[in-house]
Symmetry: C2
Subunit: 355 residues, 2 copies
DNA sequence: AGTGCTGCTGCAACCGGTTTCGGACCGACA
DNA sequence: TGTCGGTCCGAAACCGGTTGCAGCAGCACT
């Protein structure tokens, strides 16, 4: 009963009408007399008919699906990202295909394969080469998520550089720290690359010697532990560590505590993201808050608008504001207010204190 | 060039053959003379033709996709799960739709909607009611992932009860602990429910009074911090805390350290999963290792076998073995060997030491 | 020359919907 | 009574593939 095996022709026969009328009734389009409509609806209800998705999709020449491409997922950032994206898509009855290219050699082939099954593709920044993005962009709507695409490809991202610079200035100026190290791989993702740029920029602005090379590790907690091991074994220990994200910062925190270092007294640590744990560890993590869910939701919205033809496909890059969150791990007392800082564009709320 | 707009009829015209022949060549089916094949292939290559997915799917009466349904994702567990599932699916050129029912009221509708767009559905245990699963099972292949389904619905899960009981016995017997608390919500997921059962079972086996009610929190790190707050505020403090998974254990570890408690001297903490961080924190976490990726991959394989009709759809439940991993957080010295324990089925490797 | 077999190919039906087009019917009006 | 405008509905084309079946050519064999 109602096992979806029914076809529109079947229903048409049962209701004594033509398939065209069944289609009209089930879609609410065209003119159908009240009496006929009722008869068709009864047949539909009674047999639990639902139009077959493939038939509809083929006729409409749309898949009713979008794709989400990322290298591999890890940590709360990706969880938020996927959920934000998915919950936006589901409101438009659009399904979400996922593809983790995760170190697979033939990822380009897989992406192209996927491109033929969806109406649009959201690609995480840094996952595909600009050439591949260009090629894809020629065949379907593409939006880059968290990163910049080649010209003509729209992107949605967060403000990274200014906020990381503000965070770094806070350490350099308000806490008078000098030896700072950066943990994260700038060539691994556009986000990290921009944060690294902001880190360097702050040094430059203040006329300080440029920092040494970053500790190039991944973005997960264990990577932070590993980075801490590396850093604390060095002859010149840093006074502060600016991490590419909260996860690595939490890892560094663990690594520091493994080494018996006190934070922030012996070592200052900062993150980026403002994940839930950032506020819960001791000391609470000074970080930059980014609206991850919102980022993903905006991307999904933009993608579906572009796919529907409602928005121009020309590179309309959207930049979401971020916000410096000062807590204890930078050395601030619970309620200290550091100098002014600037962050993202629109209503840059500026500084925010917590704890 | 090669923008996918070409149809088979177009190619047929260009190669001077019929669509049937184009189809045969592009699929390598049927008999085609070498000369004709070459001519068609040239036209295909030259114009970058690829068969339209919807047309193929409609004719084949299969979507070439499977769905993955879960409540909402969080932490390394879900990351692994999705990646394991996806990487298995991609090898069969099957795409993966995801659906997070995440507290949405009309999730049943959404699942049914998705059911019409895929060839099979993997549902995380505890996400849907048995009635819904039954109903779905009537319309397409279903496999329950990490949990049991209603009779007739195959499932893939890990061994939870015995290994948690072994872990608990280790604490009760080898470390002579008495007041243990459990952190996790047994009604939240089948996994937690089974682990809670194993926790109680160990007490029963040893003739000890049954433990008090669990601290019902979620499975993420912040939940562990919250649980620690609750527990350490109580008049009767536990000597040990058995957590439903590593994430909450890490959270409890943070909470304990926030309260100035030493682990394992003042408080013993254990987890479940053996996430990468478990080995990296101090003290390293005693836990149970479960093969998450493998779990997901097996589920994907089983689902696709069932969807292809290669396996019977009758509830063939697969249980993957787990393995107790004893580290420092239970009070063991680096190399201590506790009493024997049993874990999963096949080659229950039993106990494993680390650090 | 007739028969049978094999290899290759095209016609047309089919998968399950949507949509255009035009015909049938009805009431209003001249 | 003839014409017109409007509503309702069905036949058929279409979306883009796959496939059963029949036909045809070429060849061997009788």
């Amino acid at each position: 009963m109602g096992n979806g095996r029914l076809t529109a022709r079947e229903i048409a026969r049962l209701a004594g009408v033509s398939v065209a009328t069944v289609s009209r009734v089930s879609n609410g389009t065209g003119q159908v007399s009240e009496e006929t409509r009722r008869r068709v609806l009864r047949a539909i209800e009674e047999h639990g008919y639902r139009p077959h998705h493939l038939g509809q999709a083929l006729a409409a020449r749309r898949h009713g699906a979008v794709g989400l491409v990322f290298p591999g997922l890890s940590g709360p950032y990706f969880s938020e990202l996927i959920q934000g994206f998915e919950s936006e898509a589901v409101t438009s009855r659009t399904s979400v295909h996922i593809l983790c290219t995760h170190l697979r050699a033939d990822s380009d082939t897989e992406v192209i394969e996927m491109a033929h099954r969806v109406d649009g593709l959201a690609v995480l920044g840094g996952t595909l080469s600009d050439e591949t993005l260009q090629e894809l962009s020629g065949m379907l709507p593409i939006v880059v998520l968290a990163g910049g695409g080649p010209p003509g490809v729209p992107a949605v991202r967060v403000e990274n550089t200014d906020s990381t610079a503000a965070l770094t200035r806070h350490l350099l100026t308000d806490h008078a720290l000098r030896r700072l190290d950066f943990v994260g791989n700038p060539s691994g993702s556009p986000d990290v690359s921009e944060r690294w740029a902001g880190f360097r920029e702050a040094h430059r602005q203040l006329g300080l010697p440029l920092p040494r090379a970053p500790i190039r590790v991944g973005l997960q907690q264990p990577d932070g532990v590993f980075a801490a091991e590396q850093l604390l074994r060095r002859s010149i220990r840093p006074q502060g560590i600016v991490c590419a994200n909260d996860e690595t910062a939490l890892g560094v925190l663990v690594g520091a505590s493994n080494h018996g270092l006190r934070v922030p007294e012996d070592l200052v640590i900062t993150g980026f993201d403002d994940t839930p744990m950032a506020a819960l560890v001791t000391p609470a993590l000074t970080t930059v808050r980014q609206p991850v869910r919102e980022l993903a939701a905006q991307t999904a919205r933009l993608l579906m608008r572009v796919a529907a033809g409602d928005a121009d496909r020309n590179g309309s890059t959207l930049v979401l504001p971020t916000e410096l969150v000062v807590r204890r791990s930078c050395g601030c007392a619970a309620t200290t207010t550091p100098g002014s800082t600037t962050t993202g564009r629109p209503s840059a709320a500026g500084l925010r204190h917590s704890r």
